[in-house]
Point group: C2
Chain length 455, copies 2
């Protein structure tokens, strides 16, 4: 057994170096949706992996490559895998950022950058833990596998291809997913599942270009068509009206409902931080958490039609687009819901509205009783000084299903972000202290899992 | 009486010069909604007016100035006034233009530019006619008054201020409004009225910024709020459901319905040009024209929410905006409709939706039997070789009411554009031959109206 205190001391002594490394990673844009900076980001990662002596294979896809790496450790019978992604969300709307999204400016003990938490902070805290073991002990406690994809933010279109091609690379004893969240000055969250996602565009075109709006008297307006179609898809109480949408939704079990009680969801803080008057249907307590974690959604993620600049322009749009993301829960499947949307629209005469699938990801839930899950939960208190919140399913989505469902992996999620990290939003940030703690947490999990025994 | 043929010959001989002048005007952007190039455009006009010896007053407003000019003519007892505007619509969406909107490129006998028809072509054809009289006869047939505003495309917010301040400058015998349209290889349209316009934004904000879309389970989505509000405002048959919206709509008179029969509206051509499958409710013939010219509209001119770039971004919008233009017919008034929209939303619980009035213009109809109207109609055949279409009301809007209603002016509209000029849309253009004809038409109206007598 290696003394973790020595590792913690090393991490504290080298904090500045770790911070600068994260800034360097954040300053390299890597926006998969816009295909900006992806290759440059890959090179930056490869440079870092090379300095750690990781044996690397860059697996090319028709999109962005998947970087696979391995490192041997003392316990050769136990493997710990880390999944992360090196792509980030687009930074827009730029005007709402207080500093350049790729400047990685430090203010008030935080690094502000697109990707600071999601997912570069999470990716690096694990690499930094590896470096700490190498520098302090010259060895790792167990075998490490690294899987970094560059298309998580656009729905991981090539991850199953990788899983099918390299089944041996997925073999592992513990599977740590990309990241998780933490209360500010409160407990770390450890979670075992994610919602699924169907991302679609509803497109309508009624004319070959935008027209003078005097034509609105006689020409069908595609924005009105979309408005009228959408109005059939959800009621005023946020109940989704797409025919058959809830058919395959499993009601939460008694155990799942019990888990909600362990969560420390700070409603007032959330409302204040996001600037909300209240939650949907004035929900609160367990009802709120039930809806957040166990219920599916049908979100309008974007609506674009006609003139969207400042001031008045009297045009009638020739075409209009709605982006929708629908978060799914077990056992809803993306293609099932896609089909239901299409049939729902057809049945109501909206055959002129095209439904385009941009991405889909089934929901996934791991077994919270497995050795790795239990080990991670046990590691939290020594590092953070308090027990974790244990979350059956995150309210968000990652491509867990593709890996974990068929390979039978029980993925566990924990990371470096917190509830105010603004991931996917302007002014994304990471608290530097959280980042350093997350390095220690990663190291602790490596050491403890190397020695953990099935009971 | 001056020989108009000499004027026509002069115009033909100087066509190239007139074309280059229009290109020069089009190359100067003057986008009132974005406050781009307005002063530079004023200078360009003043240079031209100065070379014609026009006595000019630049009337400053808190927005863009109104240029007023006078020129004396032989018949001192008759005045002809020309209203035009020097501002243009924004050129967006730029990617749909085949050439730069401010390059004024000539292709296939047309000048392509934002403002080529609306309204720089119309403004200049009248100035060019003045130059032709000056060069050929050294005099004008009658007194000319010029009123050029720079805010027509944003609802003419300072035109009534001008009318109130300078009532004597509005005194005239014939009032020619900014422009009109023409069938391609077909009749010129002469019209006597316009629809009104209420331009509003519906704004909704539920959070202080865009959020990760996992929050869609519990946070109200402002785009959904707007969709649900809009869905209460119009039915699937394009009937507007805003409470009391049609209360003050006058049914078309028998005479007005008769006028529709004189129109040569080429339905198939319109459908093909605009790329339409058909018109709203499959209307055709008189029913179609009745809706186009005599019925009000409630158009979604723009809808902006969340992520509107390429690809997928899983955000929940923090705010959303709908731009609406509502074209009004006698006797609907903008503020009346604004009030009705507000009350309609409040009654249905949409008190969280802000209604912001961007501009308003009442509808206006002149008397088609007055001397000037009759003179203009009579001038068309000698210039164009065929009788005009006589339109009681255009389907569009200009600020006629502000001038004409209180000053008792019977405005007549005729111009240089055609039905495929793409005004307010990408690839706006003017047919060069139409522009030259419009110069001759303006000259003919000056001459004939100088000599016309009340019957």
């Amino acid at each position: 057994m290696r003394d973790l205190q020595k590792i913690y001391d090393y991490v504290d002594a080298h904090a500045q170096e770790y911070i600068e490394l994260l800034q360097k990673f954040c300053r390299q844009p890597s926006i998969s949706a816009q295909n900006i900076g992806m290759r440059e980001m890959v090179d930056l990662i490869l440079e870092e992996l090379s300095s750690l002596g990781v044996s690397v294979d860059v697996v090319e896809t028709s999109g962005n490559p998947i970087i696979y790496g391995e490192l041997e450790g003392v316990n050769k019978d136990r493997t710990l895998s880390f999944y992360n992604h090196y792509d980030v969300q687009p930074p827009e709307p730029l005007e709402e950022w207080k500093s350049d999204p790729f400047a990685a400016e430090i203010r008030d003990g935080k690094i502000y950058a697109r990707g600071a938490t999601d997912n570069k902070g999470s990716l690096l805290c694990r690499l930094c833990a590896i470096r700490a073991f190498q520098e302090v002990y010259g060895e790792l406690p167990l075998r490490i596998k690294l899987i970094y994809e560059g298309e998580e933010e656009i729905g991981s279109p090539h991850l199953s291809e990788f899983a099918e091609k390299y089944p041996e690379r997925l073999k592992t004893d513990g599977f740590a997913w990309e990241g998780g969240t933490k209360q500010i000055n409160g407990p770390l969250e450890v979670s075992f599942g994610v919602k699924g996602l169907l991302y679609i565009e509803l497109r309508c075109r009624t004319a070959n270009s935008d027209l003078h709006s005097s034509n609105a008297a006689i020409v069908k307006n595609p924005a009105w068509r979309l408005v009228q179609a959408l109005a059939t898809m959800k009621d005023a109480n946020d109940h989704i009206l797409i025919d058959g949408f809830y058919d395959n939704v499993k009601a939460p079990t008694a155990y799942e409902m019990e888990c909600l009680k362990t969560l420390d969801y700070k409603e007032d803080e959330v409302k204040q931080r996001m600037g909300l008057d209240g939650f949907i249907n004035d929900l609160t307590g367990i009802d709120l958490l039930n809806k957040l974690y166990y219920q599916p959604t049908a979100n309008i993620a974007g609506f674009k039609a006609g003139y969207i600049g400042d001031g008045a322009k009297t045009v009638m749009p020739g075409s209009a687009v709605v982006k929708m993301d629908l978060r799914l829960v077990p056992d809803q499947m993306p293609d099932e819901i896609l089909d239901k949307v299409r049939k729902h629209l057809d049945k109501r005469g909206f055959t002129d509205i095209e439904v385009v699938r941009l991405s889909g990801e089934p929901p996934f839930r791991a077994n919270p009783e497995c050795l790795f899950a239990q080990t991670v939960v046990k590691c939290v208190k020594p590092v953070y000084g308090m027990d974790p919140e244990v979350l059956v399913s995150s309210s968000g989505t990652t491509a867990m299903y593709q890996f974990c469902h068929s390979a039978g992996l029980d993925a566990v999620m924990f990371g470096a972000g917190n509830v105010a990290s603004n991931i996917h939003a302007p002014n994304e940030n990471i608290i530097i202290e959280d980042y350093i703690q997350a390095i220690k947490m990663a190291a602790t999990v490596m050491e403890e899992f190397a020695n953990a025994k099935e009971s």
